[in-house]
Symmetry: C2
Subunit: 151 residues, 2 copies
């Protein structure tokens, strides 16, 4: 057992509590708004990755296709997204953000970045960049280990 893998394990040990505490913080932030936490995640994927199909969203977010479809249906009702025909695949529509959806996401994300400013003040830029490199690598390797997804 190398010290390196032990340290990497130490890093990954923080993932579960961070995931749960973030969820709690975001849930309190969204309380009383139409937008839910998973819908916020779908809108974010559309902002970051552009228009895409439900299976693509499912793969990126590690949620089932059925789960994404439900969220997309709810977001459509709120006028946050639209489905448009996909030139590549007749049966798989492209989900695209409306300007209303972008505005809703941006308002929430601005509040998130305010919280991040506060947290980021306690760590160096170099450490943050290193952390992104490590987590991106871990995510890619785990995705390969976890095997074929359902999307």
């Amino acid at each position: 057992m190398s010290r390196k893998s032990e340290r990497l394990y130490d890093a990954i040990r923080y993932v579960r509590p961070i995931h749960q505490m973030s969820a709690q913080v975001v849930t309190s932030q969204l309380a009383g708004r139409a937008i839910t936490m998973p819908m916020r995640a779908v809108l974010e994927r559309l902002v970051v990755g552009g228009e895409q199909t439900v299976p693509q969203l499912a793969r990126a977010l590690w949620i089932t296709r059925q789960g994404v479809q439900r969220i997309v249906d709810d977001a459509k009702e709120l006028g946050y997204v639209e489905a448009r025909s996909n030139p590549g695949h007749k049966r798989s529509h492209l989900i695209t953000l409306t300007s209303r959806g972008r505005t809703a996401y941006e308002a929430i994300h601005a509040e998130e970045l305010d919280r991040m400013d506060h947290i980021a003040a306690g760590v160096s830029s170099a450490d943050i960049d290193a952390c992104v490199r490590v987590l991106a690598h871990v995510a890619a390797e785990l995705r390969a280990m976890a095997g074929p997804d359902d999307a």
Copy 2:
């Protein structure tokens, strides 16, 4: 919005997929064994933090006291932990690992570290250390933001 907080946000965005993919990998690893994923987490806390009370475990693992109590009861039945009276607090027993519990955890953790060796090969030691510093800081700050826990 500083670039620093945006980058930190990029890092935290990996937490949810890593959490879910890790859970899937660990669940396949534990399939067919008596030990469950939350029980594995409790045993780990006892290995890392030594004997402690149910409320202390709940705080550290960000699980409710009732949830931890159920896991501890199951682990007791398997002979992995024991409760002993707490000199400090009459009503809150100290949960302590048995040698059988330590052996069970260590066998699982050895397999986890084998997987980590493979993943760690793709990143530098300095990056891993930086990642631990960042995630430890984020966890501490979120814990403060998430407010009083139920434990």
